[in-house]
Amino acid sequence: MTVEILAQRNARPGRDEEVDVVIVGAGPSGSVAALHLARAGISVVVLEQGEWPDYDDYTGARPEHELVSTKLWHPNPNVRDSPNDYPVDTSTTDINPLMFAGVGGSATLYGAQWMHFLPSDFRVRSMDGVAEDWPFTYEDLLPYQLEIEREVGVSGLSGDPAFPPRGAYPFPALPMGSVGLRGALGMEKMGWHWWPGSNAIPSEKFGELNPCVRRGTCLTGCPEGAKSTTDRSHWPLALKAGARLITRARVKEVETNDQGLATGVVYIDANGRERRQRAKVVILCANGVGTPRLLLMSGGSRNPHGLANSSGMVGKRLMMHPFASVLASYEDPLDSWRGPFGQQVYSLEFYETDESRGFVRGSKWNCMPSGGPVGVSGATGSKVYVAEEGRFQDFWGANLHENVARRFGHSLIWGIVGEDLPEESNQVVLSKDLVDSDGLPAPQIVYKVNENSNRLLQFNIDRCLESVRAAGAIETLVSTPVRESGWHLIGTTVMGGDPKRSVVDQWGACHDVPNLYVMDASTFPTSGATNPTATIMAVALRNTHRMIAERRNQKVA
């Protein structure tokens, strides 16, 4: 049976039907929770403001790709300007948050770089004296990481000495390509760590996922259906198990009763009608911006500062991983439009703290192809060069041809992801004037890149330049911190044992509302420096297993 038929068969619940669990958001975290709850026989409804992806809309295989994707598949919702997204007020942030609304969530546009957090990420306070330790350890989470990898269909090579020993990946690593080999060569010359990329892209046919054909357009949707997103990895199974998914359903409020327990949610359907979904348990999986936004919109007169917010921490400690990139061009051809885009090679050489560097914590680097001619020219979006020192002529005329000749097919990009330390002043609040297409307040981001991040990025850029030059780079271009780089949204409903200092406990249950859960990266006390989706899905799985095991003890309205 196709997904479409299953999706229709599992009809919307009746008007007053109370389900066991309602989940907000059908991205990676919500999809994991939905699949496992449905398999345990629990009735689940998922409400998602976006729609099912239409793979014909992904332009990667067509000539107009670079033209269309810079609008339709732009990761910034303000640029896409689609009614399915909510806009974000970015007037008070150094970095724009990036996300996508739909079945599969923001991973629709992710690079599919698949990385676990490292052991020290869970023990930042104990080891480095900053921020907080997590309530659980790397070892506690590892079994869930491995289970999720099998569900997602990850390809990679085990044996990386930057991680404790772990079993094999489900699929062999994707071929590296000339870009990866050149990136590795620079690291090798410096005597630094590198490892073949692990990616949420199976190298062989797996369930609904086709083998990757290295088309290299992962960040704008995979036209081959090869990149693992939960519309293919999880939803066909979740629908079969009886989960119900309602798309174009925007949740505006979590409702509670006089005892302070959640009773369900109110949402606006595709026709603009307000509906209520009653549920014994509510799970928020709307990401590090959408989840605090929803809590701040909820609570009514009983909770004027938002629901589950007696600690005052809802929305605070936003972490977005300040990011720098180094583009390096070489004389010889690297076929640098070929994928996989995510990461052909990664390095954890500078991941751990070394205080002699002048900052704490560290970074992860990933080496990727530089893409098509329009992108590498650096000429589009030319508004940015209106700045006084910028001359548009530097990017056009003969310079355009020379830039493209030097870079196109001959360059790689190292992305540098820096760990972001939590600060209460970096936060999500509700915008006073911007609203979404249903008239609900948009989130506003208040965020400054801190001094530790600035020093961390500069140190890593300097090292990266050494590495690419060691491998023979003839040109280097640095971008830091990249404004359009808030793809990791973390920390805004922090987990912890103390209800005065945290929003949820280690299982994602809100201290104030025990039948309201958060299962996305909002709960992470610290951000690590690796791409977070592997950890997000593993934590969601751990929480869901616990919810299933403890279902009889769950306090409900």
């Binding site: 295989a61 107009e64 790709h65 670079e66 033209l67 269309v68 810079t70 609008k71 490292l118 052991p119 020290s120 023990r123 104990s126 080891m127 350890t137 070892e139 390809s155 000495p161 930057a162 991680f163 404790p164 062999p172 690593a173 071929p175 590296m176 080999l181 590795a184 060569l185 005597g191 760590h193 590198w194 073949p196 062989e204 054909v213 290295r214 088309r215 290299g216 357009t217 070929r338 954890l348 050489e349 991941y351 751990e352 098509g372 001619p373 020219s377 000429a379 589009t380 979006g381 030319s382 508004k383 209106v386 548009f392 056009w396 005329g397 003969a398 355009l400 000749a405 196109f408 097919g409």
Partner: protein, 135 residues
Amino acid sequence: MAKEQVFFALADFLIPAHGKMPKFSDVCAYADVEKSLDFRIDLKEGFARAIATDPSTGAEAHLEKINKQDGEAFSAITTIAIATYYMNPRVRELIGYPGQENVQYDSKATQIYLTNGSLGHVIARGRKYRPTPGL
């Protein structure tokens, strides 16, 4: 000057002939430009503003002016020019770009880094993570 001519004057300044590369109007027709605009209807208004007045002072001065005064129009006209140019099959052939092609490979083939010793060096350098048991 007809709108088309205004556009070609600006596009040829942005993308002139250089070495083996042709100028914009040598390879792209106005119909190609219109096709690009159909893919990006959001750029139509800015594009129209950019070519609404004759570049009497010359293409460079005109572009300089819209870059300073109407960033959206500048962005629209440059995006359409560059994307149309690099979508052109002749231009793609000249720069050696087959598009985002499909590449078959054998997922079980032994990768070179396993046989040439390079990954072996990484392993030989030993553990990099900091263990945390007991913390």
